[in-house]
Subunit: 328 residues, 4 copies
């Protein structure tokens, strides 16, 4: 049994804790949260104990940590856990500052512990199947990657200020997806961004709608579109076009029911948001992390992957600011 | 140029006349209709002349007739045309009485003229492709055929009385489809029929909703469902299941447009009725008939086919009346 | 916490035990199985103890039993559990003999314990959503129900002999589905059945391919088709047609990925079999049973439902034997 | 009857001539082509006469011209026809040089004749229905337009040299589509282009793969992707995303047949190329032109539209050359 300490008892923390319980090869030992009652409740539910960062990391029985606390705590926790020799699963991002990310990755590498950044989409069965097909040559040589990613509704205004902006907070997932599907880091990008959904974004110096194009050294192209609001639900689609065809991964719907009426044929809209769409991905991701900790698998996400996605996000921010393409 | 005399200048007659014009290898010479002005108008549109049955059939320049007049005129016109040595295209059915059909087919065979009953669905690109795949072994050995056929709305009450009833007027198309897809004539059937759509059907001694099951000598099964009303349009679907899989032909829609909104994903409902759904089938069917007349093709519909479909329809009527299965 | 004794530690028993563990409001106390090591292993996995029927039922801490043992043990266990005052969840069928079922249901009613027959499909999200829409009037008055149900591959030959035959073992699910969707028990049916898939079925006096039509007292029609083999996976579809439209529940696929190539657009085939397709249904079903035991819900499956499905299955067997329609 | 002179008797000329014949309100009077036998053959098929440019334009009976000759003849023929007072339908483009286009449009405006550039996609039933829904507010305020356009196979090498390059020859259709769907001319664009399909493109100074992003004055964004080769057929799709949802127009397939087998569910790939996909669009477009000439409709394509699409194409060429965004 892998004994885990989890940081963060909020919404996503509850998901992870449930997945640990369902895994059968791991056990939650501690829950740490600034909100003591949340930590207590989640710990109680899973036979764990509330604790402090120091105490938990000092316990040699703890072999792995699961960091699902707020973004601004990630880098410090990663470093502390690495120095304590724990395997690390951390929700994205490592940090919003690239130098801080670099420092953090360095510490992790020195410690030599398993480190795993939670790019959940890589574990979505649809995207995972698409990529597996890609690697088996289903479309031949890749020529164009198209990623569509739209949230159902804007985040809370309070979140926007601390989010790092749409490129670092939201499109970063798509940058990782692009990197993962292209099999290489693009060398340059260009971004257009607008505030069309809600003026609160521009008031916070942010945008809510964007398109980005990227190219690789060998001329493969990628296009990404984001919006902070889609009335029909969480829109998460990918297309990879190549010399031998196209692979498409569509949205996931709650059911396959359709109603045929005088007004048309009405099918389900996509699942509402990431907790529903990526429920299976979260489970698979944690199972994989546990496998890695127990020596049964090698991590499919590398420490550098989180850094690369942030580097691309920074380039996109810069491109919008300067109105020109930016090299990575 | 194949010179054609057409009987009937109504709705379906206009379709056929237009398809003759578009064919390029045939020409409408005469139009015959009890409604003189309709005949004149249609003739004028296509550079033809209105005429009488006798005069038209006596003209040796006329090599083929196209019978699109009312059902009760079909058998007489077929016999007259056959005796005059003309190739014959006749809208289904030959007649609603089986003895009359037998007599008629006999005359046609004696005359040795090409004879072609208008089972338009065999020429629908979807069903034609399904059957071609079937014949290429796409599903292996056929085990079950499922046919769904629903009209958008009940016919005019006046029509019901003279229609011969739902089995002879409507499901007869599905019986031909079953025969065509099974590649053999079923040996027995059982039918349930109800009046659920409109009491005018039962008032006329007819039904508006039915399911029929059939079996062949080697145990292959077929199920058919009919309704006289579907608010979502003309529902025409076929599934053939076999040892190596399933072939499905779905409805045809006006466009591929879908709208994704808060209320779901809304796509087009099927094309409204047979004139739209089978527009291409009518064209292909007539082109094939013209090819046959000009010696460039062999008819894919045989004189017996019309008879077989009617024999099955009679069995269905009998099954409902007796409440038992009926042998064909 | 609801303490449960589970009978049966086989494939489906493992599913149920896992769902009990995931539920959080119930706990497995005993596992009983003639295979002692299977009982032990499953008990160990979930912190339960292996036990005997007598000991387990004698323990007043046990409030509910979960019967997932072989079919021939169901009726005896149901009666014993009912007499011991336990709430009962039993995998279908109660028994393959109607008199035995009747006796069993009588005992359960006298005991007044919650009794729940495992018609898992009622808990499938797709069929559940279809029925909810139906009850909200999505298709108006129901006129025709169409059920397609095909297993991916024949069962083990040894199973066929004890299965009760395709109608009692397999189509019984569809009879319950029909009953559930129609909202009434059909009054008559007619069945055609063949052995087309594998001669081992006819050697065992069984069939592997069938179509059944049914009608209700008010003329609503239902058609069902079954096959013991579909090379493309588990085919589980339902259509309900009515005065205001059609509701369709399609198959469920592993992913939404499609590959567009020179050979066409290739999408996933359906999930392989019931363990995959109905994984969510099993979970929802058990959660509902636990809710019922804890007084938080009223059972949506009634003791009579199992009996009704078997009565219809008997009628189908009789119809094939006699070659005539049979009244229920 | 509208008497028409057609320039060009090639592949697309034959389509137009057939559509004139099918229209019923117009008649081909002359066919002009440098290839005399092609002109003669096409004229003979439709009861027209071969002629010369001068003679045809001098005939006062000719009220309209249909220009389907090679691109380099368009501008001269447009000006000559305009000066002769004929209504003009011209295949895109007016010319590959913007100054030449400007001069030409000026002549047409001075002449005051109806002028119609053949942007066939505006008449495609799918795109037309999408735009109609858009204008009825189906997605609220437009925020992002996504256009996918891929040819099935590269053009003949000889064509590439004279084509004007992918942006002017191929993506120009998508620029018109973007302009039409956005309802405004974008103010700036950025383009990435590569040669990934065939080195013959780069040898000719051309590209075969490109992505373009554009923005309007009010921040609405548009993304376009093109490829000169798609093994699965002609890929022509559009998505418009807005405040109230998304409209999607998909590809069109020959049939609705799918095959469910052990290897998945296989559906038709899209129609092969523009002659098939836009057959209905060509017909609708010509019918509309004839209506305009006869005073029954106002042109939905304006002389400026051809110019605008070319201006955008020029900007895309410039963007690739300079590696920066370019203002229109």
């Amino acid at each position: 049994m892998l004994e885990i300490c989890q940081f963060g008892a909020g919404r996503i923390g509850q998901i992870h804790a449930g997945n640990v319980a369902a895994n059968g090869r791991a056990r939650l030992r501690y829950v740490v949260d600034v909100n003591a009652s949340a930590a207590e409740a989640l710990a109680a539910k899973h036979g764990a104990k509330p604790s402090t960062t120091e105490a938990a990391l000092a316990d040699p029985a703890v072999k792995a940590v699961l960091i699902a606390s707020s973004t601004d705590t990630h880098a410090d926790l990663i470093e502390a856990a690495a120095r304590a020799g724990k395997a690390i699963f951390c929700e994205k991002p490592i940090d919003l500052s690239l130098p801080r990310v670099d420092a953090c990755v360095k510490v992790v590498k020195q410690a030599g512990v398993p480190f795993f950044i939670g790019f959940n989409r890589r574990f979505d069965p649809n995207f995972a199947a698409l990529r597996a097909a890609l690697q088996q040559g289903a479309v031949g040589r890749v020529e164009t990657v198209t990623i569509t990613s739209r949230d159902p509704a804007p985040p809370h205004p309070a979140f926007i200020a601390t989010s790092g902006g749409m490129f670092r907070d939201m499109m970063i997932h798509d940058f990782d997806m692009a990197h993962w599907l292209l099999g290489q880091v693009p060398v340059e990008l260009f971004a257009y961004a607008s505030c069309l959904v809600d003026p609160m974004f521009s008031a916070a110096g942010d945008v809510d709608t964007a398109v980005v194009v990227m190219k690789t050294a060998d001329g493969v192209l990628c296009q990404i579109t984001n919006s902070r609001r889609a009335v029909y639900g969480y829109d998460q689609r990918v297309e990879v076009f190549g010399s031998a065809g196209l692979l498409q991964a569509g949205n996931v719907t709650p059911t396959t029911v359709s109603r045929w009426g005088a007004d048309g044929v009405v099918a389900d809209k996509p699942l509402p948001f990431f907790l529903q769409r990526y429920a299976g991905a979260y489970r698979a991701e944690l199972d994989h992390f546990i496998d890695c900790c127990l020596g049964d698998a090698k991590p499919v996400v590398q420490p550098e992957d989180g850094r690369i996605a942030l580097v691309i996000a920074e380039a996109a921010v810069e491109s919008v600011k300067r109105g020109t393409p930016v090299k990575m």
